[in-house]
């Protein structure tokens, strides 16, 4: 993924950076807890942890690798004692800078906490540690005919802890929902180092739905150390199809019409010409390189229901001038089509040194209008843009291509990104569907939330993270950007 220097205005630091001597003290405390091997603190070692998959970067002071919840709690206590920020990090695949330690501090990496602790086949749930790679859970469940539903495109490397932090989605959320719809309970460490269990393996735990509140809180409220997830039987029948269009409008109208018809496929993904060319050059999945847009659609469930849905979808595609509708003949072809889609971001590396991806969501009926506006905005800034996104949810992912070596280009990219989110907000949508606010969309929070709305969110942060040591400098508009945020 693309990485560039961070030229944006300096965010207001809540903390003074650690002095050399103080850092030595903190390192000593952490080393006596975890052992030397599990504490990194030299500049050479730290560079690997200064970025995620966004365009932001910042160097941590220390990186630690705890092996259990108790150690995490102790790390939090040490950090509290020395007033050092703490940033939890999964696999660093996040797209909004959530794991970038913008104010320095201690990065907690969960690579040693990656066990599946329990699989309860009778009750269809599993207990996992946050460092577990998303796909590894489904792979472990497969022999029993079960799987874990949320499937971010980075599922081969991203962790379930990271998914919980960002409330990650994926192509199949259209019918099954995002991470929050599949997590039953959590074990977390609070700001004072207390370990508590939230939610649980049974339904409707009395009291506030803290599980729901903490999922997607981007590491700003607690550190998650254990996750109870729902698992489900693999569906009996899946059909994947590709519809090829000569105009973006036809493709977008097809999406609206499918949704309005009441057919709910498990996925509707759109790729435009630029993306198709990159994907095809990379994965040779058989996507047409001259089409204006392609819809990759999947429907699953009972064989009878899938056949019915496929018939309806094909009819709607044809009605909207699809040049071709192709149904994957077998599992190999299906996998090939999906690998093209899931590796789309990587494939773009073939045509541009860097890219910036946005994550706005709009009502599905507004797709044709918003896509046109995205294209106009990028034209205005002389930027190339490709679209590969979860069309069924109205979740756009415009990829703006750029080269940071060209003077002024990064600024134009940021400006175009901002204007795109403005259009999404004006169309009744939101600024992020699954990537999170993190560092890059703080300012845009004010596009969709009033100062009063944000003040309520501040109350949440004050409750859980009173010293603001958990992932500081994220999620909220920066002071000065929003008049009513003085008490940040």
């Amino acid at each position: 993924m693309s990485i560039i220097e961070l030229p944006s205005e300096p965010s207001m630091l809540t903390y003074e950076r650690l002095s050399g001597q103080r850092k030595t003290e903190v390192v000593q405390a952490l080393t006596s807890l975890l052992g030397e091997r599990h504490v990194l603190h030299t500049p050479y070692d730290l560079h690997l942890y200064e970025y995620d998959a966004s365009i932001e970067r910042a160097l941590p002071d220390i990186v630690v690798f705890p092996s259990n919840t108790q150690e995490v709690a102790e790390i939090v206590k040490i950090a509290a004692h020395y007033r050092v920020p703490i940033i939890p990090r999964g696999a660093g695949t996040g797209l909004s800078g959530g794991a970038v330690p913008i104010q320095g501090g201690i990065v907690i990496t969960f690579t040693r906490m990656k066990q599946i602790l329990e699989i309860d086949y009778d009750n269809l749930q599993a207990v996992v540690q946050p460092g577990l790679v998303n796909l590894h859970l489904s792979v472990a469940l497969q022999p029993q005919g079960l799987y874990y539903v949320p499937d971010p495109s980075s599922q081969r490397s991203c962790t379930i802890g990271g998914n919980v932090g960002e409330n990650a989605g994926g192509p199949h959320t259209l019918i099954y929902g995002v991470t929050t719809n599949h997590v039953l309970g959590l074990e977390v460490v609070t700001a004072d180092g207390t370990i508590i269990e939230i939610g649980g393996s049974t339904s409707d735990t009395p009291g506030y739905d803290l599980t729901g509140l903490l999922i997607g809180s981007e590491g700003t409220l607690c550190i998650v150390t254990k996750i109870i997830v729902r698992i489900v039987p693999i569906t009996e029948y899946v059909k994947t199809m590709v519809a090829v269009f000569d105009t973006m409008d036809d493709a977008s109208n097809t999406v609206s019409e499918i949704i309005a018809s009441g057919v709910i496929p498990s996925a509707i993904e759109m790729m435009d010409r630029m993306i198709l060319q990159a994907v095809e050059a990379d994965s040779h999945a058989g996507y047409p390189m001259d089409a204006a847009a392609v819809l990759l659609m999947e429907t699953e469930g009972l064989q009878e229901s899938v056949q019915e849905q496929v018939a309806k979808i094909v009819t709607i595609c044809n009605k909207n001038n699809a040049r071709l509708v192709r149904i994957a003949a077998d599992e190999a072809e299906r996998q090939l089509l999906w690998s093209g889609r899931k590796n789309a971001f990587g494939s773009v590396g073939r045509i541009s040194p860097e890219f910036y991806v946005q994550d706005g969501v709009v009502p599905r009926t507004k797709l044709p209008y918003v896509l046109k506006r995205v294209s106009d905005i990028c034209d205005h800034y002389h930027l190339k843009v490709g679209n590969v996104f979860h069309a069924g949810d109205g979740n756009l992912h415009p990829l703006i291509l750029f080269d940071s070596q060209v003077p002024g280009e990064v600024e134009r990219v940021r400006q175009a990104g901002h204007e795109i989110l403005q259009v999404c907000a004006e169309a009744g949508g939101t600024i992020t569907g699954e990537h999170g606010v993190g560092l890059e969309k703080q300012e845009e929070m004010a596009l969709i939330f009033s100062p009063q709305d944000l003040q309520v969110m501040q109350k949440i942060r004050n409750t859980w993270n009173p010293e603001q040591l958990f992932n500081p400098g994220k999620l909220f508009p920066l002071p000065g950007k929003c008049a009513d945020m003085h008490h940040l």
Partner: protein, 442 residues
């Protein structure tokens, strides 16, 4: 004690349209578990409602939100109620974006009215709590009410995409939005759902909708052997079939065996399985279910149309009797727990009807007679202790008011309760929203 007349003048001055009731008989009729409000106000706009709460906050008096009053006796005993804020006049369907399968609605509309309006365009909100004609959307969300079809469609947390609330200081605040996928900021919708109005008053909600199913059909199996029914239920949850509801019913030792129009004999058990979808998928699923049931020597009847609707309404009604406990427990422990309930009812000479959303591990125990406190208090204590022993929880869904001073309807809070207290303190430092009804007295 506030001066009702003075306050009434203040509120009417601020909000011209707001209806204020102070007559004793009106107040008595709206008593919550015996606590009579000092004033009943019915704002006609969301801004008026916000103004009322702002005034209450300034005057340091308490407010309790109130829809149609269907859920008014749920929860613990309330503290003093200065203002009962009635949301009935906030009943507009603001927008139904049918092609987007979303809607935006004011919280005082009843669920039945909302469903009727959505059905005009072939859609519905896939929540099926009991008595939709008496339940406002706000009341449903504040109590996190649900029904048998939660198995397939989930609960409010899965279908709400945005909320507007009035905060304790009278500020209006939005959370979420109007699109089906959104991770901007903290997911406050989850926090307000099921919070009994202790953090904010829900005045508007945005929902994700579903198309109305083409057809619906129910299969009912009855037998004297509960184990075979629960095995069938488990087999269904592990199959590729997607029933909308799997409901276990026990009429073991009760005088309520009438699940009109379906009669379940006394000393019997039933498993009702509901399927929704196209004719072809329903046929396939019904056939598969019948085959599966034959493995357990079970033979079923089917219901459709009006009869089916009446049957499910009576199932829902049994979860709302005068005394009903709700147990959350793992599916694998349900059978064991049911045996315990039966043994206990014999011991205490009580009668019970059990209704279980089996696929969700939820069991409603309707206890009769509801007013025999001497027997009921220790019986519930035992039921609660056994649920906890199996890693589950028991709360009292509905009960006569006198029982509430004898036994905590929610049970002991968990280890995360201190965070809930902190949240309440941060959201409502002056205690503007009436305390006492929610978990741990929140």
């Amino acid at each position: 004690m506030i001066d009702a007349t003075k306050l009434s003048q203040l509120l009417q001055h601020n909000g011209q349209q707001t209806r204020v009731l102070t007559a004793s008989q009106d107040l008595q009729a709206h008593a919550i578990d015996g606590v009579v409000p000092n004033l009943i106000v019915t704002p006609t706009t969301i801004n008026e409602a916000a103004q009322i709460i702002h005034t209450a906050h300034e005057q340091n008096i308490t407010v309790l939100p109130y829809g149609h009053g269907y859920h008014k006796n749920i929860g613990g005993l309330p503290g003093q109620i200065d203002i009962l804020l009635c949301t009935q006049a906030l009943d507009h369907l603001i927008e139904h974006e049918a092609p987007d399968l979303t809607c935006q609605v004011e919280a005082g509309i009843t669920l039945a009215t909302l469903q009727k309006r959505l059905a005009e365009k072939g859609q519905r909100l896939a929540l099926d709590p009991p008595y939709p004609e008496r339940t406002t959307v706000g009341g449903m969300l504040a109590t996190n009410a649900s029904g048998p079809k939660r198995l397939r469609y989930g609960t409010a947390r899965d279908l709400v995409i945005g909320l507007q609330t009035i905060q304790a200081n009278g500020d209006l605040a939005r959370s979420g939005g109007r699109v089906v996928k959104n991770v901007a900021g903290y997911d406050l919708n989850k926090l307000y759902i099921g919070s009994f109005g202790t953090l904010g008053v829900i005045v508007e909600a945005n929902f994700k909708l579903h198309p109305l199913p083409e057809r619906e059909k129910t299969l009912i199996f009855t037998t004297t052997d509960q184990a075979s029914l629960l095995q069938l239920a488990k087999a269904l949850t592990h199959s590729s079939l997607s029933p909308s509801a799997i409901e276990f019913i026990s009429t073991h030792g009760t005088y309520h065996t009438d699940f009109a129009p379906f009669h379940i004999a006394e000393q019997n058990y039933a498993l009702a399985i509901n399927y929704e979808g196209s004719t072809i998928t329903i046929t396939r699923q019904i056939n598969d279910t019948i085959k599966l049931a034959q493995q357990f020597a079970l033979h079923g009847n089917d219901l459709e149309g009006n009869e089916q609707e009446r049957f499910w309404n009576s199932v829902r009604a049994h979860t709302q009797g005068p005394l009903v406990c709700k147990v959350s427990i793992l599916l694998s422990n349900i059978s064991q727990y049911i045996e315990y309930v039966e043994q206990l009812q014999r011991r205490y000479k009580l009668m019970t009807t059990l209704i279980s959303h089996t696929g969700n591990g939820i069991l409603y125990i309707e206890i009769n007679p509801p007013d025999n406190i001497v027997q009921i208090v220790p019986a519930i204590a035992e039921l609660r202790a056994y649920a906890q022993k199996l890693g589950g929880r028991l709360l009292i869904e509905r009960c006569p008011t006198p029982l509430k001073s004898q036994i905590d309807v929610w049970g002991d809070p968990g280890a995360d309760f201190f965070m809930m207290q902190k949240l309440k303190q941060e959201f409502d430092p002056l205690g503007t929203f009436v305390k006492g009804r929610f978990l741990g007295g929140l």
